[in-house]
Amino acid sequence: MDNLVSLFSYEFFTRAVLAALLAAVSCGIIGTYIVSRRLVFISGGISHASFGGIGLGYFLGVNPLAGAAVYAVLNALGLEYLTRRMNIREDSVIGILWSFGMAVGIIFIYFTPGYAPNLMSYLFGSILTVSAGDLWFLLTVTGVSGLFFLVLYRWIVYMAFDLPYIQTFRLPVGWISYMLMVLMALTIVVNIRVVGIILVISLLTIPQTIANIFTRNFGRMILYSILTGMVASLGGLMISFYFDIPSGASIIFLLSLLFILARGLTALLSGGARGNIPDERTEEEAGKIFIASE
């Protein structure tokens, strides 16, 4: 225990702990919106596409996460516009944006003269190298999301549930959807440092899937997701520290264990009646199936 306390004398460790907590809060809030509105695939697309922004950032010599933020926000706004206004089949568009972004990222990184940056940390997270700047970025996005949801909670939830009905009020609410898309893109980007591009979608969906086992209330889903996320991200941070593996992998590994545990427990308690998740699926798929089966 002394050992653990003394770790906080290292600045990088304190930063990592703060990042883990903020990641849980930001993903708990935005992830609940994503899961409820079934935007899981869109979010996956946006997070992978943001790799293009990272490559662009390297190439132009600016902070890669800033590049990713701009790229992700533009993608998210474009998607919201296309799907709301044009009735376009969004899944194909997302598929294109997804792979196009990855391609752009690789191309620009190879064009960047000099050194090959550490791709692994962007793909799988590197919570122990979070900088003060990263942390401020994460804090800002988390704070804005929290405030936004606190103030406009009912509008956000009811618009997510049935937008056409809310539109019949003919009140100016369109900006709320767009704002949520922006927050979604930014939440994805600020969590890249913590869990990486490939795994960020899990931090946005597995806690919610676990929470959904225990509640059918949007607000409580946010709360339970945050708590679950905190357990996993702090635990994952310790594993990452002691075994020197990417933090994304350890956090998502823990989350998946938590999911299996919660699912197993409820199945046991209700006599196995609800235990209908095939076990060889990935967590993401399992999450989607569970939600769809409710």
Binding site: R154, F161, P164, Q167, R170
Partner: protein, 249 residues
């Protein structure tokens, strides 16, 4: 002369370049009870959506009466909903969503709003489901929840798109009685295929089949329907009181 709540002027609207409605004009006044009839695909739902501002007409204009409180002019019950039944939301919350304009943007719901939600659910006979999650309802129960949501804000115009598709006979009768009572305070526009049954409740008829023909009476003959380009059959049922329709000889 009363001012209309909604006024459609020369509306043309459609999907993907194909017109569904053409040259439609209609005025709805505060004490109207209009039955909208017409064949499947005739454009009834499209007409309602234009009226609600969900579909932008290609040409023509939709004018609304000035709102004393913005957002409270119309209440709407959709025909089909592709609502996500697994969405984490309760019956009470769905009904409360009909009160968003009365609540406003930055204030919480008050006691009076919750009471209004309960009384709307009482009217549709399902207040015992108040705390149920939306995913745990039957089709008819869900339709009654959505009806309560349409009523709860005391709109000046209630727009119902086939309100009895999923509900049982008993509630069907109760619903028509309820609407008759509500009509003392609000205008009602109701799409129905059951002309025979609704005719004793509605005051006037709008036949919609690409064009709109307004019939300023609740009695209509098959001859007139044919003249209005509205080829539907008039069937009468025994379960609900109805007036005898004129038969052409």
């Amino acid at each position: 002369m009363m001012k209309p709540l909604v006024r459609l002027e020369n509306i043309t609207a459609g999907y993907n370049g194909e017109a569904v409605l053409e040259g439609v004009r209609l005025e709805i006044f505060p004490d109207d009870f209009i039955g909208v009839i017409g064949p499947n695909g005739g454009g009834k739902t499209t007409l309602l959506k234009v009226m609600l501002g969900l579909i932008k007409p290609w040409s023509g204009s939709v004018e609304y009466a000035g709102d004393p409180m913005p957002g409270t002019l119309m209440g709407y019950l959709p025909q089909h909903t592709d609502l996500d039944r697994s969405f984490p939301i309760s019956v009470e919350e769905v009904v409360l969503s009909g009160l968003l304009p009365r609540k406003g943007f930055f204030t919480p719901y008050r006691k009076e709003h919750r009471l209004a939600a309960q009384s709307a659910l009482e009217k549709t006979g399902i207040n015992h489901l108040l705390h149920r999650a939306i995913g745990e309802l039957s089709g008819g129960q869900l339709q009654r929840v959505l009806l309560a949501r349409a009523l709860v804000g005391s709109p000046r115009l209630l727009i119902l798109d086939e309100p009895v598709t999923y509900v049982d006979n008993r509630f069907e009768g109760e619903l028509y009685e309820l609407l008759k009572e509500l009509n003392r305070n609000m205008a009602i526009l109701m799409v129905s295929h059951d002309v025979g049954t609704i005719t004793s409740y509605i005051k006037t008829i709008a036949c919609v089949n690409r064009t709109l023909h307004y019939h300023p009476s609740n009695k209509i003959s098959e001859q007139q329907l044919a003249a209005y380009n509205c080829p539907i059959q008039i069937i009468t049922h025994g379960t609900v009181p109805h007036t005898v329709l004129k038969k052409h000889s």
